[in-house]
């Protein structure tokens, strides 16, 4: 940080050295401190070096003098905690690090480890993903602390997922900017001029506060920006010096700005009217929703609009947008008959109305249209207000007829009213008839789904449909929430379990960064625990192995969930890529000793996930290969979860 004011009478470096020699700190003026930094090497060793006897004694013993006296005032990080507490942030998942030790200490001692409560994580990626999953249940953001460079590098994939999934996470990275005073060695390697640069391409905003008042403004601003649709992660670089130095009376009283939520952006009234006109006069309007419903109210509004138009609804599953038990619920193919498509917060409008087949000549894919040429397209999408250049999550460009850069849920009330006004009396009979046809098609679709689920019912490895329904049989009477991304490999729960409430399904990772599933499920389960809900996680094997330490975090912090391993012993998303290229090149894919092309299997040896979980404090059982054994095992596990513990079943499944 740029220090505007003289350093305190006791420099923080001198203070640290003083702790190491059991309280022998002496007051030195800044110039003298700088000199002694070069001459008193023994007293200035960085904390990453092996401890001397003195250091070990200081670390394990009780210091004779405590911080306030030693640093000459109230620590700046205590004020930071005061700021954080105004925003009702309930938890802080994090892996500890020296660069934020000042605020860490303030949080647990001054702040009493409440609001937020520090949750110990084994990996920064897990910490951010936990915050991601938590938000999708609670609707409230969490903050995380991470070590400026290496910790933020670990966290970055999860930040990208949150960015793509439009989820607010407040990422605070510790960083020691003062090159003249920070400890040499590892702490300096772990410092950078601009740690936020690591994630700037996929955060909404970032800042590097250089004073406590600046921190107060930045933190409240960061929270406000993160929580304004389109939601997104934000980053604050937190200087180590700013955390550790005392609050100074410079004639300016510190204050904490009040947080007032920003109202979400609504669609332009003229565009809303034009969209309503097109929808009201359409022969076969189709609504496609991806991240449209931010809340239960969003689901209700979408149902109201769909019923008003008797329009079929395709739920792409970015969130639980529309009940799958509703007769207007349709598979993605329904778009083919549309004359008007209303896209609500679509990740990829192009791919909604076009198809890409990775099977063209010379390895170039083939593009085809999924819709009729004259189909009118309407888009309501807040992401248009937040497009950056580098990362390509904005997908291919799709021209549309009515484009509203606005929040869909906030725009739906106006659109509903406009549609009501636009439906003429002579259209009402046709609209009603459309509804009758939809009911028939829906019933037929349900039958087909169940018939498909019956295939390979008794197979071993266990079919994913069977596994889904064995789980369902044990949770159907509970207030359950599916906290995992089953759709990566199969989507039976979305097809077979009645999903009518917003928290039944949380959507996927956004950025498809693998390793999201396990920690996001723990974060979501944490929110569900506080709401008295039962969390179910269908856990992919490859995903879990990126950072399995989150299992320990769940056990350590008493976060119950039922985890059923979708253990197909491979990275099946990747198998066909290698097979496809082998075929194109007239070569037989080399399997080695595995069941898939070399590099795509997770076998030899098979991972005993039940033992892994057990070692981290979970109740666990497996491997389960016989479908007849699955139901009783799930029943047993459900009882464990209801008692407040996490439980895992290692189930060998079909690949998809």
């Amino acid at each position: 940080m740029a220090r505007k004011h003289p350093r305190p009478q006791v420099s923080r470096r001198k203070f640290l050295a003083g702790v190491a020699v059991a309280g022998a700190a002496s007051a030195v003026p800044p110039a003298q401190a700088a000199t002694s930094a070069s001459t008193s090497a023994a007293a200035r060793r960085p904390s990453a070096l092996p401890p001397t006897m003195h250091v070990a004694a200081a670390e394990s013993g009780t210091p004779k003098e405590l911080s306030q006296a030693r640093i000459g005032g109230v620590p700046g990080s205590d004020f930071m905690v005061d700021v954080i507490k105004t925003l009702d942030i309930k938890y802080l998942p994090s892996n500890p690090a020296s660069s934020f030790r000042g605020i860490h200490e303030s949080l647990i001692n001054y702040g009493g480890n409440k609001m937020p409560e520090f949750l110990t994580c084994a990996h920064e990626e897990s910490a951010v993903a936990m915050a991601h999953g938590y938000f999708k249940v609670a609707g409230k953001p969490l903050m995380t602390l991470c070590h400026g460079t290496v910790g933020l590098q670990h966290a970055s994939m999860a930040v990208y997922n949150a960015w793509c999934d439009r989820v607010p996470v407040i990422v605070v990275g510790g960083n020691d900017l003062d090159a003249a005073h920070r400890p040499p060695g590892v702490p300096t390697i772990h410092s950078a001029q601009d740690i936020n640069g690591l994630v700037r391409d996929f955060t909404k905003w970032d800042d590097t506060p250089v004073s406590l008042q600046h921190f107060a403004q930045s933190f409240v601003r960061a929270y406000k920006i993160a929580m304004t649709p389109p939601y997104g992660p934000v980053a604050i670089s937190l200087d180590a010096g700013l955390q550790q130095e005392p609050i100074r009376n410079n004639g300016e009283k510190l204050y904490i700005p009040r947080y007032v939520p920003t109202s979400p952006p609504q669609g332009d009234s003229g565009a809303v009217k034009e969209a309503a006109r097109l929808l009201a006069n359409a022969q076969n309007p189709v609504i496609v929703a991806d991240r449209a419903a931010r809340s239960e109210n969003g689901v209700r509004l979408l149902v109201e609009l769909a019923e008003l138009l008797q329009a079929q609804v395709i739920d792409q599953g970015g969130r639980m947008n529309f009940p799958n038990t509703h007769y207007l619920h349709r598979p993605p193919t329904a778009v083919g008959n549309a004359d008007v498509v209303l896209g609500l917060e679509l990740t990829d409008f192009w791919a909604t109305v076009n198809a890409y087949i990775d099977n063209g000549e010379h390895g170039i894919g083939v593009n085809t249209s999924r819709v009729k040429p004259e189909t009118k397209l309407i888009s309501i999408n807040a992401s248009e207000l937040l497009t950056k250049a580098n990362y390509q999550d904005f997908q291919r460009f799709q021209s549309v007829d009515v484009s509203m850069p606005a929040d869909a849920e906030a725009t739906l009330p106006a659109l509903i009213e406009a549609v009501k006004a636009a439906i003429s009396a002579d259209r009402k009979a046709a609209i009603e008839k459309r509804g009758e046809a939809a009911k028939k098609a829906f019933a037929e679709g349900r039958d087909r789904t169940r018939q498909a689920a019956a295939l390979a019912w008794d197979a071993s490895p266990i079919s994913t449909a069977r596994m889904s329904m064995e789980i369902w049989a044990q949770i159907k009477d509970l207030d359950w929430s599916l906290v995992s991304v089953s759709g990566v490999g199969f989507n039976w729960p979305n097809r077979l379990w009645p999903m009518e409430k917003h928290y039944r399904w949380l959507g996927a990772s956004g950025g498809y960064g693998v390793g999201y599933g396990a920690p996001a499920s723990v974060g979501a389960a944490l929110a569900n625990r506080d709401l008295g809900r039962f969390s179910v996680n269908i856990q992919a094997d490859g995903d879990l192995m990126f950072a399995p330490g989150v299992l320990w975090t769940a056990a350590r912090h008493n976060i119950p969930q039922l985890a059923v391993m979708f253990n197909n012993r491979g990275y099946h998303q990747e198998v066909m890529h290698v097979q496809r290229l082998s075929n194109f090149r007239n070569r037989v894919a080399n399997l080695g000793n595995d069941m898939g092309p070399i590099g795509t299997s997770i076998q030899n040896p098979d991972i005993e996930y039940h033992k892994l979980a057990e070692s981290m404090g979970w109740w666990a059982k497996g491997p389960i290969k016989d479908p007849a054994e699955l139901g009783p095992a799930i029943k047993e596990a459900v009882a464990v979860v209801k008692s407040g513990q996490p439980a895992l079943l290692n189930v060998w499944t079909q690949p998809r």
């Binding site: 099977n359 039958d447 169940r450 295939l455 079919s463």
Partner: protein, 115 residues
Amino acid sequence: MRSVCGLGPAVLAAGLVLGCGGAFAASAEKGKAAFIQHGCWQCHGTEGQGGQAGARLAPAPLPIETFTAFVRTSNRAMPPYPEAVLSNDDLADIHAYLEAIPKRADYKDIPLLNQ
């Protein structure tokens, strides 16, 4: 397809393999092994039941001619399998395996699918 038929891949691909005089001796047992070895199971499941990644193949697979033509010339999500990758013998065995898979149960007879 067994080479005993004496028909090349181009003919097979055109779906014209009819009336080979019963020379096939395709083996369902070998077909099951080939189904795994060539990775068919990865998208279609070990019993050809299909799923999110691949279509249902069994029970009652497509007729051998149509099946063969599709495997050799697919322009859909599944890449084509040339003979250099999947021999005619193996393909015939795979089809035999799929044909041997018994008729599926009616979902109405499975209590878990009627909850």
